[in-house]
């Protein structure tokens, strides 16, 4: 007989309780796994949904018969053929205008072919189908197309083409591209990071290394965290009031001799985005600065360094990987923001590349938003393609963040 009080289960009781514990553990493990599964399914659905729109069957015909321009089959046309055809069939005025924009001979074959389709045979899209339908219901689609659009050709195409990336906006979905929007987005992100990174890192350094710890700094600290959660449209209103209207002389470039612009420039929008990501950058930079061990600061002070020398030579270099990663991730949020840009006044139709901070601009999310509101299905298809471009840009930025971090971490 065991003399000790049996507060702990023994023998069969112990195994019974152990089995219960394992059963509970298994339930929780399943729950955790389901959570992961839901996340994976959601992401897959997102990607699939985008892909679904960007590829698929298209029914189209030509307003003018290609045979009227050339006897060569369309898919065998060479650059020389296209030059001759365009020269002969476009009106001299139209041809010269194109030639003045950029010499016809220097243009790529695909570009000339696009001109041929756009200006001469005038391709006309009748209907588009999603990728899923195109893959699994191709017979029905063929029948439907033959019935509804007699004479139209049916083709499986990707709306995401090299030309889609390099051509500017167009009122016809077949010829529209995201060039202006991609450049606009890059300008935005560039201006945002140039503005927000120095300011954000400076603020983080001051808060962590210089500011005394008192009620005032803790209020500031709390409010920076709160600002990170303010809806982006509010920043849009701020940008409209401060950058577009208040500082119009600067943001329109009027103070620098630019005359043909108002405050709705890529500079205003970039600064608005900068303000938008500023709290995130401050928080990330503070985190990075906080991660620098105190022993390092003490070592520096111990050999007679001033505060600036300590911060500049030791704290900043050691926090840099974290600061860079945090900043890039913060800025990649700006890349996807739409609401502030609408308020600040992104152009909805613009085919000129942004050439200076004082240019009018559009951005990828604006372009996507704009295209999805159009009734024609072909615009939905190019919106899906633009989303793929946006996602690719985001992934590139994030990859850059990881690469930078690894690169700087290897150095001591």
């Amino acid at each position: 007989m065991n003399q000790k009080p049996d507060h702990f289960p023994e023998g069969e009781n112990f195994y019974a309780s152990l089995r219960t514990r394992y059963r509970v553990a298994a339930i929780w493990q399943t729950l955790f796994f389901s959570a992961l599964l839901i996340a994976i399914v959601a992401l897959t659905a997102l990607l699939y949904n985008v892909m679904d729109g960007a590829f698929g069957y298209v029914a189209f015909d030509y307003k003018k018969d290609p045979a009227a321009f050339t006897s060569i089959p369309m898919n065998e046309l060479t650059k020389e053929d296209l030059l001759v055809i365009l020269k002969e069939n476009l009106s001299p005025g139209a041809y010269n205008k194109l030639d003045n924009e950029r010499k016809m001979e220097t243009r790529a074959e695909g570009e000339l072919y696009t001109l041929f389709l756009e200006r001469l045979v005038q391709i006309d899209t009748k209907a588009t189908w999603s990728m899923t339908d195109s893959l699994f219901r191709s017979a029905e689609i063929r029948a439907e197309a033959a019935e509804k659009y007699p004479g139209a050709q049916l083709e499986f195409r990707s709306w995401l083409t090299p030309q889609f990336l390099t051509t500017p906006m167009s009122s016809k979905a077949e010829f529209a591209g995201v060039r202006t929007a991609v450049l606009g987005s890059l300008w935005l992100v560039g201006i945002a990071i140039l503005f927000a990174m120095p300011v954000g890192v400076g603020a983080a350094i001051y808060l962590h290394e210089y500011a005394p710890k008192n009620w005032l700094t803790s209020i500031i600290q709390t409010n920076i965290t709160n600002l990170a959660g303010v809806p982006s449209i509010v920043y849009g209103m701020l940008g409209l009031a401060v950058f577009v209207r208040g500082m119009e002389a600067l943001t329109s470039g009027a103070a620098f001799g630019v005359t043909d612009s108002n405050g709705r420039t890529v500079l205003s929008a970039g600064l608005t985005m900068g303000i938008l990501v500023l709290p995130l950058i401050i928080i990330n930079a503070q985190e990075a600065v906080r991660a620098v061990p105190d022993s390092l600061r003490q070592a520096a002070y111990g050999v007679g360094a001033t505060r600036l020398q300590t911060v500049w030579h030791h704290v900043l270099p050691n926090a840099l990987p974290g600061i860079l990663t945090g900043s890039i991730l913060a800025v990649s949020r700006a890349l996807g923001e739409t609401a502030p840009l609408i308020v600040v006044g992104a152009s909805t139709f613009i085919s000129l590349d942004p050439a200076s901070p004082f240019s009018k601009f559009t951005a990828l999310p604006i372009q996507i938003y704009q295209w999805t509101t159009r009734p024609q299905s072909e615009f939905h298809a190019i919106a899906a393609s633009a989303i793929i471009v946006l996602l690719a840009l985001l992934l590139t930025l994030n990859a850059a963040a990881i690469l930078l971090r690894n690169r700087f971490q290897r150095k001591w």
Binding site: P212, K213, P293, S295, L296, R297, Q298, A299, A300, Y301, G302, V303, G304, A305, T306, Q309, H313, H314, N318, W412
Partner: protein
Amino acid sequence: MEINYAIETNDLSIHYGNFTAVKDVSIKIERQKITAIIGPSGCGKSTLLRAFNRMNDFVPNSRVTGEVLLHGNNLYGRNVDPVEARRRIGMVFQKPNPFPKSIYENIAWGARINGFKGSMDELVEESLRGAALWDEVKDNLKESAYALSGGQQQRLCIARTIAIQPEIILMDEPASALDPISTLRIEELMQELKKNYSIIIVTHNMQQAARASDFTAMMMIDDNRSGGVIEFGETRTLFTRPTDKRTEDYVTGRFG
């Protein structure tokens, strides 16, 4: 005969907010000697040590009353810059904390920011020799200081400290993170260093204090948990014929 003291304190008290961590310390620390500060955990040994080169300035709400005199000037006087205090009074920390840079840079940096004009290569060699590290690292000065062992890192930190040619070196339990052999090397090094520097060392290790120091300050907390020096004198006397009962209990290992 007038003894020129390295550092003197008069009624030095250190407060954190309303709490007095160290109370009314008045000791005179001799030049080119090793002075050990011993006492149980939490008695304010490190706090007192860090008051000597104003490292407590970085602790929020810390406040110092009384005087710390270096050449008769109060370190906490109005016209004294803490940076200058740290330049004259170097410090070696409990955990080796080399900069995440090369061995060479670890030593050169402190000299450079203090405006050193001479030959850096010579200074680096001299300092490493002074810290008994030169022979071990002379062929890989460009390598990371983090590649060194703990004992080597601590000697590098000592080399870094003597590179800026301070008058006094403060050591905050410099061997507590090291193995016995590395500890012995640090103690031997201290005997070398005291030819040129005054050394103040905080230690938990009673044998270390007895072996390595010339003078010992015994600290203990009072009823308000404020630490104070209860006995200060030559190490031999303090360990063999302590005047205070608490010192006797402590050094004979009866508690603490």
